[in-house]
Amino acid sequence: MSYLDNIFFAVILALGIGYFAMNVRKLIRNIRLGRDIDRSDNPGERWTNMAMIALGQKKMVKRPISGILHIFVYVGFVVINIEVLEIIIDGLFGTHRILSFLGGFYDFLIAFFEILAVLVLVGVIAFLIRRNIIKIKRFIHSDLKGWPKSDANYILYMEIVLMALFLTMNAADYQLQFRGFPHYDQAGSFPVSSLIAPLFDGMSDNAVWVIERACWWLHIVGILIFLNYLYFSKHLHILLAFPNTYYANLNPKGKFNNLDSVTAEVKLMMDPSADPFAAPANADPNAVPEKFGAQDIQDLNWVQLLNAYTCTECGRCTSACPANITGKKLSPRKIMMDTRDRMEEVGKNIEANKGVFIPDNKTLLNDYITPEELWACTSCNACVEECPVNIDPLSIIMDMRRFLVMEQSAAPQSLNAMMTNVENNAAPWPYNQQDRLNWKNDN
């Protein structure tokens, strides 16, 4: 009978991890809907970026208040998860505080976890205040109407509950250790929970034991729920920030990619000996010509799609966007949220149709992102610079402009005039190329 607990624990753990793994597979499938792009170069620089930006939070502290609060929560989250390792071992094998053989180091660890738990609480409560009481502009922005706003608050509530359970569990454990309750040997140091422990003073040993066990179970179940909540929330950044910073663009931000498909055509046009009517050698008769630019998520590359899943909707990009600051519809954060929403929609379509995407008469362009948003961009790279995890909303905007112009000839009139000038007289204004040096003799 005494194994019932352990079996029950193993089942919960397997369910929690299994369901998460299933969703991770969906996530990978969706990211693979994107076009291929080679980001295998410069592994050294990429590892450094990941270490500095994801692990080291280098870009977070550009805004010091939210940056430092975030470090509390982040370090707390990462370090307290060492405790989860112990919980899993204890749960599976029916031990109690298996790592306590570490002695003084164990005391230090537990004390450290407790202090971090308090810092996490401070951070999370400050975040709730910033979102809901101070109402910082980027958190009450129209991008976040509805689910995204609730999502952010749910995550913060969950973290409060998890930390409270952790500290209450330790407080009850401390009481039981103090009372010499069986199996609760003296282990650990409890600088914070020892302050909570007196609350249990009047309770029977059994009542305290029940509280300790309840907190222990709820804590691990809570963590598994949190893990599985990630896929449905904006909170995937805690995992995806790492690959996202690794695979981020390493080129200067001003360097936009040259489309190879265009290069081939332009070279053909400029080659006087080329026969424009000649059938290409070894052509695949069933080949579909490559689309120029992006109309839907399948036209974006997989790094752009990974970006969309990584976005945690903090809105630093939008708060720095000159177009958004001056009241235009463009919001780089919304570009990322729309890309993810559409990717999810396409993913569900694939699931419903046995692995094949059946066209649904919708596209990322128009149904999610309007041309008005795209044309408001000044390509200033403020959004790219701001993103704490190196997301690149600008590359998506540019790819969609390319589709509008090259596939649909749908540029604003004035831009068409500019492009006609460049074609006819090699300048964006209607001046003759022969007059290019006239400035020399002007007064």
Partner: protein
Amino acid sequence: MTNELKVPTMAEMMAEGKSPEVLFWVGCSGSFDDRAKRITKAFVRLLNQAGVEFAVLGTEESCTGDPAKRAGNEFLFQMQAMMNIEVLNAYDVRKIVTACPHCFNTIKNEYPGLGGSYEVVHHTQFLKSLLDDGRLTIEGGSFKGKKIVFHDPCYLGRANNIYEAPRDLIQKLDAELVEMKRSRANGLCCGAGGAQMFKDAEPGTKEINIERAEEALDLEPKIIAAACPFCNTMLTDGVKSKNREGDVKVMDVAELIANANDL
């Protein structure tokens, strides 16, 4: 100011069997826009003063294709780029200087993939190197103690991480260099990039150039320094909209130095 400008073209140089130390890529704005032409001439005066053997392409220059590319027209961009690269390679150009951050960015970053690899520097970097090499001196007198605020062009700053060269030059003027809250990597765009220069803004609550001009004017500068002909236009318009053009001037860094040197 009346010294005649020496502006040899690549064709003339080649005819003489010479090759210049650097090609000055003037750009469309610097060639045709009345305000930007004054920047071009100020820079040329400095090159002449420093005795730099440079040349321009003149009528053989054409748009780099930057506005077409940022507007989404990759075809037109690559057509322009490949034609320019043919001309540049035919003259065996090795080093290019330009006063336009958009031309600078495009030639530096986007031409190599299409067969055009050159050493490309922005005019503020080039002037800084002339200064460091002792080929050019700056007489700061006329700007001494004047408050100058520098606006970072996106395609120089964030796009290519060049923040110090223009500031180093301004500091040589003995001026009081002040910074806006949004500067360097956090600089706010003037509103012209990404082909916005050539179209009306989308509906909003404000024009970007006015937002930026207000931020600069809040510091009560004598001069707003820019390092891009488009930023110059946008900020000039912004200052005018606040009726401050009488007491606040928008000037290119090259103009400041040329003025200081009485050129």
